[in-house]
């Protein structure tokens, strides 16, 4: 073969493979999604898949403002007890069922009444739904609910085809039918989820891939290796420790956004007998622990500085962060003084349960050595996650290293943890004043009123410290350098609108 022929052949071969590849976007996820039914699902990765599969009534901007998606405009009544929405008239579900107010009503009914629905509490404020016209609907609320819009921007606001849902019942998740830019094609558990472009999507021109394949690859090293070898186009949750390696690779671009969640140490204050100990009974000990740790050093040592140090349920860059209570500097002397004041000048033991995976263990070892310098002797009990969760819920723990993935509305990061009746209040912290402030923030639609309430609550919680917040994770995505148009969002979702794969 002559050189020209070879070049030509190579060029042709290259062109065909590139042409074929450009149509498919391969995304590596950290784990496999659970059941693909927005009403039943629970996993973060499941939400990533829904972002392309199921449109919601509303969406968010990277700055967490609510913007239209299936609903074009909306307004609350004076007293905040009625929410009226106008809907798109050009949207259809993947099975051809038209999207309209009836469909929204059916969806709300399903989310509230399907026995296995996980959305019940998210939509509990809705007491009635009134179809006002083909594309207009009104929700009647028991009480003003500032969190509702954010719920409708997530799974509770995802619209599934009423016809398909009716036919499939509980099994809907095996072949979901929604109205998003991509429709469900196939799923092989633990291997891949494949979506294909939905031609009748109202904004089909904004999406440039024929198919999207989600591949669960749990090991972070292997995930990155797949990107480097060109087997996938992008990966989510690159490990902070692999950041340098990824950045050094010319074929890879890295994007990031501070997440909405937090990580910290939850202390058992009054959850059963185990809460009845100095740590649960004396806030000074908890304050001492907080002063003993150097949050920025943790970030540098464990996360290569890629995450954000924090001391509140909201990250410092969030509009809801109370600037009155900045991330404290480490102060060992103050920690020692607090211990002495509480009667433990000679030091005190603390047992912390930790998920038995690398990062939490590393984190706690760093905290352990920092706390030791202040006289707090931490013993680490590492537990497999399901066990840790069960023990924490049952109150069988002294302190627990745990976090929260975060919600768009600030209420989701604090109310259920810090109010007396809160569903995930595993610390069993209870303070009527905090209850009142957080309830008030939940009901007001006025941003300033909400912010004031949160700041007032923070003043109390920062003093009583049932959770010692430590840091906020940063979502890190690594993409093939040929991918353009990706926007990082603090909710960690991958929105495909405008994303393209350049050839070559």
């Amino acid at each position: 073969m002559t050189l020209t022929k070879m070049t030509l052949a190579a060029a042709l071969l290259g062109a065909t493979t590139l042409g074929a590849q450009a149509a498919d976007l391969r995304i590596a996820l950290q784990s496999d999604a659970d059941v693909l039914d927005p009403d039943q699902s629970r996993t973060f990765v499941g939400r990533i898949v829904y972002t392309s599969l199921c449109d919601k009534l509303v969406d968010i901007t990277p700055d967490l403002e609510i913007i239209p998606q299936l609903a074009t405009e909306w307004s609350f009544s004076e007293d905040g007890k009625q929410l009226t929405m106008k809907l798109r008239d050009d949207a259809v579900f993947h099975d051809g069922t038209p999207f309209n107010a009836e469909a929204v009503a059916a969806n709300i009914d399903r989310s509230q009444n399907l026995e296995t629905s996980r959305r019940k509490s998210e939509l509990s404020s809705i007491t009635g739904v009134e179809v006002l016209g083909n594309h207009e609907i009104r929700f009647d609320l028991a009480d003003a609910d500032a969190t509702l819009m954010a719920q409708l921007a997530d799974r509770a606001g995802m619209m599934v085809s009423p016809t398909a849902a009716e036919a499939a019942g509980d099994d809907f998740g095996l072949a979901p039918v929604c109205s998003g830019p991509y429709q469900f094609k196939e799923r092989v558990a633990q291997d891949r989820i494949v979506l294909e472009k939905f031609a009748d999507y109202y904004n089909a021109d904004g999406y440039h891939f024929d198919t999207v394949t989600y591949l669960p690859i749990p090991d972070t090293t292997v995930r990155l290796a797949n990107l480097q070898s060109g087997d996938v186009d992008m990966i989510e949750r690159l490990a902070a420790t692999d950041l340098a390696q990824a950045e050094a690779d010319d074929g890879i671009q890295v994007e990031s956004a501070v997440s909405l969640g937090y990580q910290g140490i939850t202390i058992n204050v009054a959850n059963g007998d185990k809460g009845d100990n100095p740590w649960g009974n004396d806030k000074r000990l908890r304050q001492a622990l907080s002063y003993a740790v150097d949050r920025e050093a943790i970030n540098q040592v464990v996360f290569n500085g890629a995450f954000a140090a924090g001391n509140q349920p909201f990250p410092p860059n969030s509009p809801w962060y109370s600037t009155d209570f900045a991330v404290p500097e480490r102060d060992v002397e103050k920690a020692k003084a607090l211990l002495a004041e509480a009667g433990f000048a000679d030091g005190i033991d603390l047992e912390v349960q930790v998920p038995n995976t690398t990062i939490p263990l590393q984190l706690m070892q760093v905290v352990q050595s920092m706390a030791a310098e202040a006289g707090i002797n931490i013993s680490i009990t590492s537990k497999e996650f399901a066990t840790l969760l069960a023990d924490q819920s049952a109150g069988d723990y002294q302190a627990s290293q745990i976090g929260w993935s975060g919600r768009v509305d600030p209420d989701g990061n604090i109310h259920q943890f810090m109010t007396t009746e809160g569903g995930i209040n595993d610390s069993k912290y209870s303070n009527p004043e905090v209850d009142e402030l957080l309830d008030k923030a939940r009901k007001s639609t006025d941003q300033d009123t909400r912010r004031e309430s949160y700041t007032a609550a923070r003043a109390i919680l920062n003093d009583e410290m049932p959770i010692v917040y430590l840091y906020h994770e940063t979502w890190i995505w690594a993409l093939d350098s040929g991918i353009t148009g990706f926007t990082p969002y603090p909710d960690g979702m991958i929105r495909l609108e405008g994303m393209k794969k350049e050839e070559g």
Partner: protein, 314 residues
């Protein structure tokens, strides 16, 4: 022969029953609540209670066991708590994957292990023997996951020769399917190759010093014929036993290999199921694996009889 197989099958039944009881009860002893594990961040007490009812987790454990085994006998292994898929369907999806991996790994193991064993037995005490032994020992000592990650970094990331991980079904694209599985099969195969090599070597050594080998040599046969026809054939029985026993090790090794190379097989299914307390899936897999293991041993027994004429008369 038939009565022999039947006898073995009858012995297998109580074994399977015992295993099923063990799996069931051991699993219930695990700390952690499946429904809570499943709920993750969303714990609505009403839903949790509904799920407990639905999956009969509130029933006494013996009742749960009999419900399960009763359904299992009719071919219904329940549904996954996590994905709602029927367990039998999941196993049907995953089993071919792991069988392909196990078969390819076994081929690697045999192709490397058996000739190396014969070779080092024949060349006993020479440098070749020592080198083969050192290589075999390293094969045994290098952890699967380390070898796997090193291979991925070298072969896929650096040289870009093979895909880093994943799986393509044989039916979809046979060539790519085999290519993708080369690295994991090699990783899984090397450890077994080492075991196989050591056993082949000792089996060969004991046979090589026997009278009939001396006779074969004395009547002037070519050395190659002596080794392959007279010695190796007689050394095969212990090797076959070992190969059948290695099947179990292969499945266990596959668990780790599948994790590293993200192969959606049996091993990955069971690990994920254990962590999610997906009881029905774990039980189903262990049951199927136990039956498979018993079946492999039965095959090995049949193979001895075929290989060793003396056993046929008994």
């Amino acid at each position: 022969m038939l009565s022999f197989i039947l006898r073995r099958l009858v012995i297998a039944i109580p074994t399977i029953i015992l295993i099923s009881v063990f799996v069931f009860t051991l699993q219930k002893l695990l700390p952690g609540d499946p429904v809570l594990a499943m709920a993750g961040e969303e714990r609505d007490p009403q839903v949790l209670e509904f799920l407990r009812e639905k999956y009969r987790l509130n029933d006494p454990i013996p009742v749960q066991y009999f419900t399960w085994i009763g359904n299992a006998l009719t071919g219904d292994l329940g549904i996954s708590l996590r994905t709602n898929q029927p367990v039998l369907e999941l196993i049907g999806q995953k089993l071919p994957v792991t069988i392909q991996l196990a078969t390819m790994a076994m081929i690697f193991a045999m192709v490397i292990g058996i000739p190396a064993g014969i070779f080092s037995a024949v060349k006993k005490g020479t440098v070749t023997d020592y080198v083969a032994n050192v290589v075999a020992l390293s094969g045994l000592s290098i952890p699967n996951f380390w070898l796997g990650i090193m291979l991925i970094l070298l072969v896929s990331v650096k040289w870009k020769l093979l895909p880093a991980s994943g799986y393509v079904p044989l039916s979809e694209d046979p060539i790519r399917s085999i290519t993708v599985m080369l690295m994991p099969a090699f990783v899984l195969g090397t450890a077994l190759a080492a075991t196989l090599m050591r056993h082949t070597r000792s089996a060969m050594l004991s046979v090589m010093s026997s009278d009939y080998v001396r006779t074969a040599r004395a009547k002037g046969l070519v050395e190659r014929k002596v080794i392959l026809k007279h010695a190796f054939r007689n050394a095969l029985t212990p090797i076959v036993t070992l190969t059948a026993l290695l099947f179990g090790e292969l499945i266990a090794g596959a668990v780790l290999t599948e994790q590293i190379f993200t192969i959606p097989g049996f091993g990955k299914l069971v690990v994920d199921a254990v962590f999610n307390r997906d009881y029905a899936v774990v039980q189903g897999i262990v049951l199927v694996t136990a039956v498979g293991f018993i079946f492999m041993n039965l095959l090995a027994d049949v193979a001895y009889v075929l290989l060793n004429p003396r056993l046929r008369k008994q």
